[in-house]
């Protein structure tokens, strides 16, 4: 099947420019060659036949004139007309046989006299009719047939009449063989055909070579573009050839230079951005630390304050927590944006990690009236950045608790040969399919009017998604209103490998039946 599809002409037409050019040229050439060939054949056959006719008519009229003269001079007293006619006819026939020039038939009311062995149907009826009516010479092509074994020959009939004194004119037919001419025409035809075939072959080869020549710089440009795409911005094309081709090379090189410049600029910008993020981080964190410690000192002594100051110090502490979380996550996000985030890879048992996180957040779940369980298999070790995976998991679980509606939450851990998946399944409010595409957007909230229990910043899931991507992993959200939600993290077992699938389905398996029925 593969071999067939490879030589499928339609495919080839779509894919190969040389094939297209050659085929187009070839089609045009065939049309032109057929037209010129037909014209050539037509003209030459007309010319040859016309020449033959002219010669034949001249010959025939000379012979007839001679016969007429003899017949007119015949002494009717000594010879009968019919006798004389048959003698003349035989004479003419024998003269015509010299050099195989022509055959003669003279029709008398009683018989046909002339060359022996000639079939009567060699003379077409239409010329026979013409001869009876009028004087003069007519000619028409015919097929000369013989009564004996000789093969039919293409020929020309020249008809005229012989006037005999006191009698009706005798029709005389000269049959000239055009065998020679037909052969000449056949040779011309063959030559024309051969020329056509040679022309076509030559044209095909030439056009193909030209197409290749034109394509070579295009292919070079393609290779150069591929190199550029692969990041070899310093690669340039050789500027050679005609104006058009060297122009192409120059344009490609110009483009490469501009790309190189732009990318260097962007890289510099990114470096500036990274440095800025780092500086902001340092500059903001140090005073924040001081403020935080001061707030804690105040908070610790709030019992000795009046009511307003006491409450103020509480608010100060609480909002500092929020401020700090927000700052941390903003910095984290800008680090991702700057491409400055780096993985610190270790072999991590994700089952153990999930167990840790589930037990660490169990209190929070219990406070929300939620039963949280872990459903994990062993041997879920993967090469990951434990800090980031822990952060993702913590985010997903707190998120599930926040939207859990006092219903159970299950954390699944599954692994196959290539990947490990952790899924957090809740049976809470759920979300629409459209919302599940938005949850990873920054500062997106399902319902702005909903109170926040855990107090996320609105950046948690965005950061989790970036963390997952940094691992070459996936983070998928599934949800339906009233059916709860499932967030699934999949990471490759070995860092840097491409994910092909996940050991855990996006749609919670406990729902599959239900979804199936709804469909």
């Amino acid at each position: 099947m593969k071999g067939l599809s490879r030589i499928d002409p339609f495919r080839l037409w779509q894919r190969s420019l040389p094939f297209r050019v050659v085929l187009t040229t070839l089609s045009a050439a065939i049309v032109i060659l057929v037209a010129t060939g037909w014209f050539l054949m037509d003209q030459s056959s007309r010319g040859i036949i016309a020449g033959k006719t002219q010669a034949s008519v001249a010959e025939a009229s000379a012979v007839v004139a001679n016969m007429q003269a003899t017949l007119s001079a015949t002494d009717l007293r000594t010879t009968s007309v019919s006798e004389q006619i048959s003698r003349l006819a035989r004479e003419a026939a024998s003269r015509g046989q010299v050099g195989n020039q022509y055959f003669v038939v003279v029709e008398t009311p009683i018989s046909q006299i002339g060359t022996a062995g000639l079939a009567a149907e060699s003379i077409p009826d239409n010329i026979r009719a013409l001869v009876g009516k009028d004087d003069g010479l007519w000619s028409t092509p015919t097929m000369i047939r013989f009564t004996d074994q000789r093969a039919d020959e293409p020929g020309l009939v020249v008809a005229t009449t012989l006037d005999a004194p006191g009698q009706a004119p005798y029709p005389v037919f000269f049959l000239f063989s055009t065998n020679q001419e037909q052969e000449t025409l056949a040779v011309v035809q063959q030559a024309t055909l051969a020329t056509g075939v040679f022309l076509l072959a030559g044209l095909t080869a030439t056009v193909y070579l030209i197409a290749l020549q034109v394509l070579r710089p295009v292919r070079a440009a393609r290779l150069a573009a591929e190199n550029l795409a692969a990041g070899h911005l310093e690669d340039r094309m050789a500027v050679v050839g005609t104006e058009d081709l060297s122009g192409l090379a120059r344009s490609m090189n110009h483009m490469a230079e501009e790309l190189d410049k732009k990318i260097t600029q962007l890289q510099n910008l990114s470096l500036v951005q990274q440095r800025f993020v780092s500086d902001v981080s340092h500059e903001l964190r140090t005073p924040l630390t001081t403020i935080r410690m001061a707030a804690e000192v105040l908070h610790a002594h709030r019992s000795s304050f009046d009511a307003a100051s006491s409450r103020s110090s509480e608010l100060l502490s609480a909002e500092l927590d929020r401020f700090e979380d927000l700052l941390t996550e903003l910095l984290e996000i800008s680090r991702f944006d700057a491409g400055a985030a780096e993985l610190s890879i270790d072999d991590v048992d994700l089952t153990a990690l999930a167990r840790d996180e589930v037990s660490a957040l169990q209190r929070l779940a219990e406070d929300a009236g939620i039963v949280m369980t872990l459903d994990a298999t062993d041997d879920c070790v993967a090469e990951v950045d434990v800090r980031r995976i822990r952060r993702i998991l913590r985010n997903l679980i707190t998120n599930a608790i926040e939207h859990g509606e006092r219903r159970p939450i299950t954390v699944y851990v599954r692994g196959d040969d290539e990947a490990v998946a952790i899924a957090v399944r809740d049976h809470g409010v759920g979300m629409t399919a459209a919302e599940s595409g938005l949850v990873f957007d920054r500062f997106w909230r399902a319902d702005p009017s909903r109170g926040r229990r855990v107090g996320g910043t609105g950046l948690g899931l965005s950061i989790s998604l970036e963390d997952a991507r940094l691992h070459g992993g996936w983070l998928n959200a599934w949800g339906r209103p009233g059916l709860g939600a499932q967030f699934r993290l999949t990471v490759p077992r070995r860092a840097g490998e491409q994910l092909r699938g996940s050991p855990w389905p996006v749609i919670p398996p406990d729902l599959k039946e239900f979804i199936g029925v709804r469909r």
Binding site: S281, T286, M293, E296, V297, E342, V386
Partner: protein, 237 residues
């Protein structure tokens, strides 16, 4: 908080160029029963260290005069006193540099007072309890004398910082057990919940460079892939 440190009050040298933060640290440490001294310049840090002879150093990584990592290295060159870094950039190479320069632990800014005090107390408290059943422990071709706080290979003593000693001891006490980095973080650094495993990795490297004959092919602290570390088989020296 309620636990009053042994008298005389442990001395803590705070090296931080941010005067407001340094003063705030002074207030907080003072209220926690520590004796604190401030130093605002990296270049003056080593002199202050020699003069003050602190029990612990709180060291900011970004300092004018002399870089915090260099100050850390200077201190390590002459003392095993615990060094806790204060850093605003917790996930950059700076932290690893600081740890590699010999800092025992780090506290990322902005930190909570409780967190900082807990870290300081952990580093000041010796994990070695003298009631250990055995005084002499063998790990690889090394002999650990727990009560003496010494590690010997044959007759020569190997100088370790208290943290390195604790780390080695933790591994040596349960010779056939593989320790995860998280367990080591809890046993040696006192982290209740697993934190930055770079602490373990960097300190294991530092320790190996001191005790292994060939740190590239460790025999005393062996890496267990997918788990962590364990002690090598005891051998007679």
């Amino acid at each position: 908080m309620s636990e009053v440190p042994r008298s005389p009050a442990p001395r803590i040298l705070v090296v931080d160029d941010d005067e407001a933060l340094a003063e705030m640290l002074h207030i907080v440490l003072g209220s926690e029963g520590f004796d604190a001294r401030l130093c605002h310049d990296g270049a003056a840090a080593l002199d202050a260290f020699r003069e003050y002879r602190p029990d612990l150093v709180l060291l900011d990584l970004m300092l004018p005069g002399r870089d915090g990592v260099d100050v850390c290295r200077d201190i390590r060159a002459e003392s095993g006193v615990p060094v806790v870094m204060l850093t605003a950039k917790s996930d950059t190479i700076d932290v690893v540099d600081g740890l590699a320069a010999g800092a025992d632990d780090y506290v990322p800014k902005p930190f909570k007072t409780q967190e900082l005090i807990a870290r300081i107390k952990t580093r000041l408290r010796r994990h070695v309890t003298p009631d250990a059943d055995v005084d002499n422990l063998r790990i690889g071709d090394l002999v650990i004398r727990v009560n003496e706080h010494t590690v010997r290979r044959g007759d020569s003593e190997i100088t370790l910082t208290p943290l390195e000693f604790d780390l080695l001891l933790a591994l040596a006490r349960r010779p056939r057990q593989a320790f995860t980095r998280e367990v080591l973080l809890e046993e040696v650094w006192g982290y209740r919940h697993a934190s930055d495993t770079r602490l373990v990795n960097v300190h294991v490297q530092r320790l190996r460079s001191k005790i292994e004959k060939d740190p590239e092919r460790p025999e005393i602290i062996v890496t267990v892939r997918g788990v962590g570390y364990r002690a090598g088989e005891p051998k007679s020296a």
